[in-house]
Symmetry: C2
């Protein structure tokens, strides 16, 4: 498709518009961002933009597709590289969003979450794309939870738990922005950690009940216990 990958600072018009719009929508929101600002930031004239995109609404949709493409390489891959343990990856992901908030001075938060509350009601196409972003985010987390299968309770709905992780993160970021500080986010993450500890503890109790006194039942392989203090990253708070 693309002749040369425009990874550097020299990118095509379309890409420059998408980047500028993504950043500005994230910083100020969709309605608060004027087309003129996007054009100035991207160094592009109105005609060029309307040659690439039919209008501002369509631009929003393409920005959301752009965010979906970036989700893996820019968000999830670094987290997987930073933490190997599947459960710790969940909290490394939290730490990464936290770091983004610190860099921005406790502003902005999650670009998708912001747009979700601003435009999803009156814009069906955007709503669908936001939903796809959330779904992709949760699917990646769900993969980690599946990898931690043996440390979680048997009947646990891991898909639901993955979405719950997203729930906690978005809710935590919202309160952090309202408070003007990261304390609410850190506390939400700490509470989530407590919940995960409870889940792992419950799973251990299940195993104990299943194999009560080193008398292994039929076909029960040893549960491959890990060191109890396996927490590579420093806890969020």
């Amino acid at each position: 498709m693309n002749a040369q990958e425009p990874t550097g600072h020299e990118a095509g018009t379309r890409e420059r518009i998408l980047r500028a719009a993504f950043q500005l929508f994230h910083e100020q929101g969709y309605h608060a961002t004027g087309v003129a600002t996007i054009l100035r930031e991207a160094g592009v004239n109105p005609g060029s933009m309307y040659h690439a995109f039919p209008g501002k609404e369509t631009l929003l949709e393409h920005v959301l597709e752009y965010a979906l493409e970036l989700l893996g390489p820019a968000v999830m891959d670094p987290v997987e590289a930073a933490a190997a343990d599947p459960v710790e990856r969940v909290f490394a992901l939290m730490a990464q969003y936290r770091a983004g908030m610190v860099l921005a001075g406790c502003r902005m938060g999650c670009p998708i979450g912001n747009l979700a509350l601003e435009v999803s009601d009156n814009h069906p196409e955007a709503r669908e794309l936001i939903h796809r972003n959330f779904a992709a985010w949760a699917a990646r987390v769900r993969g980690w939870l599946d990898a931690a299968d043996d440390r979680l309770p048997r009947g646990l709905d891991r898909e639901r738990l993955a979405r719950f992780v997203l729930t906690v993160m978005e809710g935590g970021l919202m309160q952090a922005r309202a408070a003007g500080g990261l304390a609410p986010f850190d506390e939400a993450v700490a509470q989530l950690r407590d919940y995960f500890d409870a889940l792992e503890s419950r799973a251990r109790a299940e195993v104990r009940r299943r194999a009560p006194r080193r008398r292994a039942p039929r076909g029960a392989q040893p549960p491959a216990r890990r060191a109890p203090n396996t927490r590579p990253n420093k806890e969020a708070r």
Copy 2:
């Protein structure tokens, strides 16, 4: 201060503007709502509005104060009336927000949460008021959790748990709006219920460890156990 309480449909200009603005900000967001729309909905002329409020930004602040005043009588009091058990009040509160979403066709969500992500970055006064709304919300929940003292683990930070409840609700509402359906919200609430069950279970285990075999230690009063299936309201999912 007020000669007669304007509870009925005949209210003063100020009140009508506040109501219309509150509803419209909730439905469409702050930037997407034009002053002209507020005026039309409130049946008021621009001069009158600018006689009551210096401008749109100040109006937003007064709307947030208005929401803070309404939080008790319109949100929390009905929940306390609907459920007596302190923990069930938490989930009755969730059910009330859920009912609001159903009435609105899975739109809108929490008025404060929406504004939190839209304006808190570029509007310090509004940010502070949003923070106060969240704090008041969590304080009320915290009161319930304090009342359930004996059913929760000893060292539990109930203030933090109350904010966590808010976190889960806001995150759940966000995903529900993105999905266009209440399933994500219901699942988030179910997951929160699971967490509360784990907490109550942990508390019971603590009590058991403290009083191992009906041999009460010094100064340990019986923990006043409740019936295990005390769940007056039907669960969210």
